[in-house]
């Protein structure tokens, strides 16, 4: 068949296909025309293959290729169920993922908690050490914030309930930004992630050790114990994601190195999603609960302990049994 008659025979079909495509691309397709779309797309693919095999002009082949390309984009569009996916991830996906990736999580936890506890212990034993870890202004600020005389606690003392909102926003931006950086810098063969984990561990450890040493332990520990359950866990999850990325590059196993990186990144980004959720909870708890001074320290400790237990139970047990087909 000559090209000209081929074009004439199918012109109407291609025109109709273009109209359907435009509707789909603008998200206003009618259900009836969409039902016919897959068959029309397959026919177009067949016509493209014919046109190529018969050596029709590059203009016609290009035109069909463009149509096929646009059809492919619409045919393979991702149409998930965001709410159901999110719920599934929250109830089962995330804890299952963390248990499956326990090696990275354990390594990140050892790096982070190890440096935190080690530094805290050292500062308790040698109080002057804090000056070689933290700048003087930061120490002064921490001492002012956790002064037992202060009425409200937190990074800004003396604030009203509207200020809680300001702090919520600040925690969200600051902490999740740090978590993202911890993850992303794992691409530098894991070195960036290790740096961020150690840096955060050493800083937090030094502050905790110093405030405990100078006798501000009650306001400090009662403030941090609640949201710490979520925040510190989130840091280790973001760290685990970064380490996973680095390991994907360094230990590809039998895969090509870049393919291994791609697969590791797909898993790691889910861990980062989990860290983000935990940090949102942490920011909420920190802004609206931890800063309260109406409650006594012992209530804070009890609630804080409960929250830690909750997090441990969640990651240890959630999603172990299948309730419904997934």
């Amino acid at each position: 068949m000559k090209q000209q008659s081929f074009e004439r025979r199918h012109a109407q079909e291609w025109q109709a296909f273009t109209v359907t495509l435009e509707a789909l691309e603008a998200n206003r397709a009618e259900p009836e025309s969409s039902a016919a779309f897959p068959a029309a797309y397959r026919r177009l693919c067949q016509q493209l293959a014919l046109a190529q095999a018969r050596g029709y002009s590059s203009h016609l082949v290009d035109r069909l290729q463009t149509l096929a390309m646009r059809g492919h984009q619409q045919f393979y569009r991702h149409r998930g169920h965001p709410a159901a996916d999110f719920l599934g991830f929250l109830l089962a996906g995330l804890p299952q993922l963390v248990r499956r990736e326990w090696r990275s999580v354990l390594l990140a936890s050892l790096l982070f908690y190890g440096s935190l506890l080690g530094m805290g212990g050292l500062v308790l034993a040698f109080p002057d050490l804090v000056h070689s870890v933290l700048p003087a202004e930061q120490i002064g600020e921490m001492e002012r914030l956790y002064d037992p005389e202060a009425r409200r606690l937190g990074r800004f003392a003396e604030r009203g309930s509207l200020d809680d909102w300001a702090m919520f926003g600040f925690y969200v931006m600051n902490n999740i930004g740090i978590a993202f950086q911890t993850f992303a810098s794992g691409l530098l063969l894991g070195a960036g992630t290790i740096f961020y984990l150690l840096f955060n561990g050493l800083t937090i450890g030094a502050v905790a050790g110093h405030l405990t040493a100078i006798g501000y332990h009650e306001p400090f520990w009662s403030f941090v114990i609640g949201h710490g359950a979520f925040e510190l866990t989130a840091i280790t999850l973001a760290g685990a994601a970064g380490l996973k990325l680095g390991a994907g590059l360094l230990r590809p196993g039998q895969l090509p190195r870049l393919e291994s990186l791609r697969l590791a990144a797909a898993i790691a980004v889910r861990l980062v999603g989990g860290a983000t959720l935990l940090l949102l909870v942490a920011a909420f708890v920190e802004a609206f609960w931890s800063s309260m001074t109406y409650t006594s320290a012992s209530v804070k400790y009890a609630v804080g302990g409960l929250l830690w237990l909750l997090v441990a139970l969640y990651f240890g047990q959630a999603g172990r049994r299948r309730h419904a087909p997934e």
């Binding site: 096929a68 931006m173 992303a184 960036g192 990144a265 797909a266």
Partner: protein, 233 residues
């Protein structure tokens, strides 16, 4: 994998689909991508400026909201646009670019999040140096985030106007032509408007002897054969 000599010349990225056809993706290079990024940057600055000054009037509540806004614009602007607007941020849309998976399917949440979070590393050590180097070195112009996410930034396909063939009476080819020869003849005819007269004459002159026509008439003859091949009356 190159399938024809042409595939070696251009840097098209070919993807075989389940339907048994090859999609030809045209990866976008450093310059259009940098321009798209610059447009997005300006747009984000404008959003922050306008909403930021509005929120500043709201006092402390506004400050908290502003911080969340800053966070969303800084980390989620690209992801939200890419996933919800078929792979196009406003800057990419302006320049006719689109983000797709390596297999040509539209980009999803996971891949978009990876490529945009890893932007942080592409920015290192300063001014997108890692990203630019990776983009220049990779055959499909991928920055580090694209490599890890398995994504590709491609040019949007633009429908071209049908080329006008010279008005000559069609005739049959004097000898049997192979598929590639037919294609070459038709391509010559379709592209004649873009070639200078001297160049057309030079190219057609190569075939003057086999066609048995004087070089001056060879071009006309080739157009006639091309029309004949296309079946144009």
């Amino acid at each position: 994998m190159p399938r024809s000599p042409l595939a070696l010349l251009d840097n098209c990225h070919r993807v075989e689909t389940p339907e048994g056809i090859d999609l030809v993706l045209k990866p976008a290079g450093l310059v259009p991508r940098a321009l798209a990024f610059a447009i997005d940057l300006v747009l984000r600055a404008a959003i922050l400026l306008v909403l930021g000054s509005l929120l500043a009037m709201l006092g402390q509540f506004g400050a908290g909201f502003g911080a969340i806004l800053l966070f969303v614009v800084q980390w989620w602007y690209m992801v939200l646009f890419e996933v919800l607007n078929q792979g196009r941020t406003p800057g990419k849309q302006w320049l006719g670019l689109r983000v797709v998976h390596d297999d040509g399917t539209p980009v999803g949440w996971g891949a978009s999040l990876v490529r945009n979070l890893l932007r942080f590393v592409d920015l290192l050590p300063f001014g997108y140096l890692f990203g630019a180097l990776s983009c220049l070195a990779h055959p499909s112009f991928k920055r580090l985030g694209d490599i890890a996410a398995g994504t590709l930034v491609v040019h949007r396909e633009r429908p071209a106007a049908p080329p006008a063939l010279p008005e000559v009476a069609p005739e049959a080819a004097p000898v049997r032509l192979t598929l590639d020869e037919q294609r070459a003849l038709i391509a010559f005819s379709e592209r004649h408007a873009g070639l200078s007269a001297a160049r057309r004459e030079e190219l057609a002159g190569i075939l003057a002897a086999p066609l048995g026509t004087p070089p001056a008439l060879a071009e006309r003859r080739l157009h006639a054969i091309a029309r004949g091949l296309l079946g144009q009356a």
